[in-house]
């Protein structure tokens, strides 16, 4: 019998994983469909003609796009194990930090393939962002308190993808001594039963991002040609 929930994804995408974590936390049964984003299928292009990206959630023929929008849809449709807090102000804070986080994810990624002063600037920007996130986390077990929630999922890239970027970009952003709260949160997050069983394979992920980094570097700094 066909599953009523389908998720189109790509094995390296932190945006896809946050949706899978949400579905698993809620105990929602779903079918995962791997998409080759370098050779986009008709299925993907029909479901997301505007952005042509994953994740795409299909629920009972309804198509939901954009990872943050999908997370909220999941939270509102399956009410068990709520992801977002109840209080409007706390919800606003979670949404704010989720958006902030994604902006800084891109900064950290840029830092991997830039060089010289541009790299230094991107690294500085990323560290500043981590400092603000460290302050937001403080002594809480998870971002919203005792239990894992929306913001942990939205910032989950820090726990796993950021170390990958540090490695391929030959840089250190998350020094333990400087970020005790984030370091402690990372270890809790990665050992959570749902999260630890749903992470991309580390070595392959490093190879993938290293290749991407090199490709970006070469296109951004084209070799000088002889006349």
């Amino acid at each position: 019998m066909a599953k009523e929930v389908k998720l189109l994804g790509f094995w390296t995408s932190p945006y896809v994983y946050r949706v899978e974590w949400a579905l698993k936390l809620k105990g929602v049964d779903y079918e995962y469909l791997e998409e080759d984003i370098f050779n986009k299928s008709t299925r993907l292009l029909e479901l997301n003609p505007i952005h042509k990206k994953v994740p795409v959630l299909v629920h009972d023929k309804k198509v939901i796009l954009e990872s943050h929008v999908i997370l909220e849809y999941i939270d509102e449709t399956w009410e068990q194990n709520p992801l977002l807090p109840k209080d409007p102000r706390e919800r606003a804070m979670a949404r704010f930090w989720a958006k902030y986080g994604d902006e800084k994810l891109l900064s950290a990624w840029k830092a991997t393939w830039l060089k010289g002063e541009e790299k230094a600037k991107a690294v500085e920007e990323s560290i500043e962002a981590l400092e603000k996130i460290e302050e937001e986390l403080k002594e809480k077990k998870y971002f919203e308190g005792e239990g894992i929630g929306y913001l942990d999922l939205a910032l989950g890239w820090i726990a796993y993808w950021l170390p990958v970027m540090e490695k391929v970009g030959s840089m250190q952003l998350l020094k333990e001594e400087k970020f005790p709260a984030i370091t402690s949160w990372i270890s809790k997050f990665l050992s959570h039963p749902v999260i630890k069983d749903k992470l991309p394979p580390w070595d392959e992920l490093v190879v993938y991002f290293d290749e991407k980094r090199e490709a970006r570097y070469n296109s951004y700094y084209p070799k000088q040609r002889e006349n």
Partner: protein, 224 residues
């Protein structure tokens, strides 16, 4: 206990004006504080240390920032005259279109204003494509929200008003009646709503402001 609600904004910011529109639609009383962004108040910096931008909504002393986040906060705190639909799927669609406007249309609009002549044509074509997509979403409805204005209409006032002014100043027509009849009609309907009129910058002042900003930008980028 009296509610204390303050909104920090500017008369010309589409982002703070959209928050005002939401508050007015719900009939929520608030104190408005006009910010001078060239001389930011200590309060603004205190309430929005990360971005130091408007709008900032301060409710009982606690700040909420980012206009889309503020709109959802308002809708969740004051439940009369809902801005977002009730159904989760309709809400997801509304959020998607708001993001489309913020993350795809707005940055491209800035490129239209700021790009050199030779690049401008290409950017304008891209813009037409995006606007066609947005127009498709209206699809027979009076407003994005259906029979009355909702979240997406509020977010899209930037297109209905601010784009029109900039386009008039720079002489590039994006939303013309011939090219986008449905969108054009929506703009007319939106601008005729009283509460929306209250949240639009005075036209002449707005035109003067945009002209001055564009001139200043040209001066900054002119070769010595």
């Amino acid at each position: 206990m009296a509610e204390e609600l303050k909104l920090y904004g500017t008369w010309v910011s589409p982002f703070s004006r959209r928050v005002e529109l939401a508050l007015k639609l719900k009939g929520i009383p608030y104190e408005y504080i006009e910010e001078d962004l060239h001389n930011k108040s200590p309060d603004l910096i205190k309430y929005n240390p990360i971005h130091q931008k408007v709008p900032v909504l301060v409710h009982n002393g606690k700040p909420i920032v980012e206009s889309l986040v503020i709109l959802e906060y308002i809708d969740e705190t004051w439940k009369n005259n809902p801005i977002l639909p009730q159904d989760p799927y309709q809400r997801a669609l509304a959020r998607f279109w708001a993001k489309f406007i913020e993350e795809k249309i707005l940055p491209l609009a800035m490129k239209v204003t700021n790009s050199e002549e030779k690049e401008k044509e290409k950017v304008v074509v891209e813009m037409f494509q995006l606007m066609k997509v947005l127009e498709g979403e209206l699809n027979g409805k009076d407003f994005f929200g259906g029979e009355s204005i909702g979240y997406v209409d509020i977010v899209a006032t930037i297109i209905a008003v601010w784009f029109q002014v900039t386009q008039e100043v720079i002489g590039v027509k994006i939303v013309s009646e011939e090219k986008f009849p449905v969108l054009f009609k929506w703009i007319e309907k939106l601008k005729s709503i009283d509460v929306v009129k209250e949240c639009i910058p005075p036209r002449d002042k707005h035109i003067t402001y945009v002209k001055a900003r564009i001139e200043a930008a040209l001066l900054k980028s002119a070769p010595n």
